[in-house]
Symmetry: C2
Subunit: 210 residues, 2 copies
């Protein structure tokens, strides 16, 4: 790891760190493999022993971010007592993260998932919805596929904000609006006419298939 060494030690994560920092500073397109390599003190071609391509590096970085976000959301939710407030905390955590790191939150999907992510924000949401049902805050008949109603809403708000399509005056306004959105969706699920979507099949996700 010191300057003199020929083998870096853990070049893979060092490159991920460098890329992450560059993206944070200059946006998702503002970094280059060469610049990241130079920052780590390594030749441009060294990266190809750890990643198939530049895009593969981004995909790996994306996976790392997902895990980090999932842990953050799980922690944020855990601080709140049972009830709809927990779902609000989920949404708020999601948006806070998007606001703090807009460049990272707007990272491209990365296409093919290389390794299965250990913990996904989606998992946290699923667990939270199950908890709402168990606590009697959400009717069991509305539960199937409910994550595919809440997830788009929260994710959509986050993307609209990071992409600059929606702007808030301050963080308090963001929280307030996130709460409104989350509770509206939850309320909508609660008041869903019985049996309406029983026949609907849920979409697929990286987390669901195999």
């Amino acid at each position: 790891m010191p300057a003199g060494r020929y083998h870096h030690g853990d070049l893979r994560t060092a490159l991920l760190d460098a890329a992450e920092e560059l993206i944070r500073a200059k946006g998702a397109d503002g970094w280059s493999l060469r610049e990241a390599s130079a920052r780590v003190g390594v030749s441009p071609s060294a990266a190809y022993h750890h990643f198939d391509s530049r895009d593969a590096l981004m995909a790996a970085l994306y996976d790392r971010l997902l895990v980090r976000l999932a842990e953050r959301l799980a922690a944020a939710v855990a601080r709140v007592p049972d009830g709809p407030a927990r779902l609000v905390a989920y949404g708020r955590g999601y948006l806070r993260w998007a606001l703090e790191e807009p460049a990272l939150a707007a990272l491209p999907a990365g296409g093919k998932r290389t390794t299965v992510v250990s913990r996904h924000p989606h998992d946290v949401l699923v667990a939270e919805l199950d908890r709402l049902v168990a606590g009697g805050h959400l009717p069991a008949r509305a539960r199937p596929g409910a994550e595919f109603v809440v997830w788009p809403a929260v994710h959509g708000l986050a993307r609209l904000v990071t992409d600059g399509h929606m702007r808030f005056d301050n963080d308090a306004e963001v929280d307030l609006h996130t709460e409104r959105l989350t509770l509206a969706v939850l309320n909508g699920l609660i008041h869903e006419p019985p049996g309406t979507w029983a026949a609907a099949r849920s979409p697929h996700t990286e987390r669901l298939e195999r």
Copy 2:
């Protein structure tokens, strides 16, 4: 416009067309200014007499797409009688478009808006929500800022699909799920406790300021 001419005629829109087709074929990052210029039969630097940069071209293309989507949504909605079904038609139109042209739907925000877009999908949604209130399908007290609840939901579902995070088996499943999402949000707004969000200030949009 024929091969022999020195002046192209309408190089600006020709470049936009070429870029659009390349993006449609090879993704948002799969096109280059040079390739688009070559396809139009013009030197690489000619584009700089019509656009400040590659990003500026993308921003202009993005604006053009927004207008096209807005017209499409307005037409889709116009075919449906008054009531919640119109909002469902809006969402369905949004998602159909995203499914048909995923590469274009996932275009980056483009940053600074250069010219004010003549007609924005957001405008169509606003008009639709006003119509719901006028027809008695949405309480007036839930109206303020309601577009910032519906928009994220629909937009979020579209992006999750175009980014490959959510996959459906066929178009019918997409429609069904879009309907569930849209109606859930609308129902949530209808059952909103009175006066809850009266103090909340709405976020800003390109359409709202000035």
